[in-house]
Symmetry: C2
Subunit: 356 residues, 2 copies
Amino acid sequence: MKPLMTVTLAGGAKTEVLLADDIKDLSAHLGGYGRSVVWVFDSNTNKLFRQLPPSRIILESGESAKNLVSLERIISLALDEGLGRDGRIIGFGGGVVGDISSLAASLYMRGCRLTLVPTTLLSMVDASIGGKTAVDFHGMKNMIGTFYPANEVLISIDVLKSLSEREYKSGLAEVIKHALLSEDQELYKLLLARRTEILDREEETLMKLVELSLLVKKSYIERDPTETQGIRKALNLGHTFGHALESSTRFSAFSHGAAVAWGTVRALEAGVASGITDKKYASAASKLFGSFGYDLDHRIGRGEWIEYRNHLSKDKKKLGGEVQFVLLRGSGKPELHPLPWNLIQSLVMEKAIGRG
Amino acid sequence: MKPLMTVTLAGGAKTEVLLADDIKDLSAHLGGYGRSVVWVFDSNTNKLFRQLPPSRIILESGESAKNLVSLERIISLALDEGLGRDGRIIGFGGGVVGDISSLAASLYMRGCRLTLVPTTLLSMVDASIGGKTAVDFHGMKNMIGTFYPANEVLISIDVLKSLSEREYKSGLAEVIKHALLSEDQELYKLLLARRTEILDREEETLMKLVELSLLVKKSYIERDPTETQGIRKALNLGHTFGHALESSTRFSAFSHGAAVAWGTVRALEAGVASGITDKKYASAASKLFGSFGYDLDHRIGRGEWIEYRNHLSKDKKKLGGEVQFVLLRGSGKPELHPLPWNLIQSLVMEKAIGRG
């Protein structure tokens, strides 16, 4: 295990991000924690181990397991195993496993130790650092949660090889989003220059990609650990449009990342329409998304608009009754703006004007 | 409303403690928050209002409502009312209402605003400041919770008049506990000098009592906001013995405070037996408890010992497998120590040696 970076959050809480050579290296590290642990897998990630640890929960894979019932299962097991506040929950999986495991760790005896092993690109570059924990509630994504940074995040690039194309692309969308949020162009250039290697999941390239992507996220969350300063909200670029799409399509048609890619392109268009985003920049950025094969042309049917709008209205980024959208003044220059409903409708329901 | 004190916790979060002239003053202040609020009452505290606010949850009074179902009810209502992260949950009641309301506020959209109006002496001097939130789980007290300080705590002394004797005495035990944890003797002296006025709930005396008691708690929690330094654990004086008594008697025979009074006297005896607590000091402190009429002589029956021990073993103050007890080197000089099982058994099961 090699230290990759340290992320410092609210109250000085630190997350150590460590890089493993491979799954074996990872297992050896985790084995060192002994018996005061509870492991959380999903029905895919449990297959990464030939022999599973005895104290474990295996969640159904997918968003539908991200609920209070799963949370109770983990906490019950921790209690049965006699874990104290110095006990550890190990979340071994993608964003769903990570978010629930983190919430369980933050709630169990008001906080026990937490290790996250992200097994998807999405959770590696996004969910595993920053301390956001969550379950869905009444069909609303992440309505219940806390801020509780993991003590450590263990990254093993080799697990990315076994991801489905859909899952891999889901993570890649957040990487591209991070590239647009970075003032330096390093990540953006890597995405342009190494498209083939990235799509082929070439290990060296992925290592660089993950590191650069994490550095962008780190720079935003360290300045605003509990999302109260407005800075961290920038990471929600594409998410307000995208979450509502995910919700109104019941989390099936679009992966999270595919929805974010779609949502980010909508946000770029909204920025152009509002005179905030340069048209050429928006066009180039949309083209970058397009080059990785996302469905950016999808439009909401007329019969679905009311539901879509309801989901938008309930967005957590709402402040004082108005939904705030992240728009881009340029690369690395996010701003929060409300948008008029007729503009939103024209962007999500019809072929939008101004897309490249 | 007059500012009484400001408590600063993790990450600089501040709780303003305000003193109301009376319930009317309180209502006027709360009315100023408009409609983006959800009120939480219990089936006693709702009677303090002639006309209840429309957006409200009324919990069954008592510990049995302190569960995940109540939590879900509050969060559902907040969602139905369209509260954003800038919305506010108002917990109007004793410790149970306060703990659940606080947990709901900490979880709703990863944190919304929170006002606590403690209506019992116990919640005024203890639960309402410090940011501990909780529900019980599988019969274990406060197993699920977070740290989430209220934005404001509103104190109206006149509500104490309507408390039952049992409820009032429950709070008074925590006040006496605070007196033992304070290095200066002001609170201890007040308790000795004004016993009659205190038992008569004389308003001026209570105001002083609440303020001094809050100052003791503030001094401990500000030095250790998330109970990681060992300092804050001192506030659990009497609670390890006491919680296990509450749990094993199913939260009915003893009020929380009565159990803490009993537990504190057991901790004083344990301190004497371990050579940590001066015998005369322990005797005087036990006498102070006795003068307010607590049942300090209760003993666990032989058939209940296993259950009592099991509850002790699951205590949250366990670290590295060993239960830590708060013992007193002297007034304001708490220390954490493990205790041998045979000593514990002799203290809780038989007439103990060395009690004054």
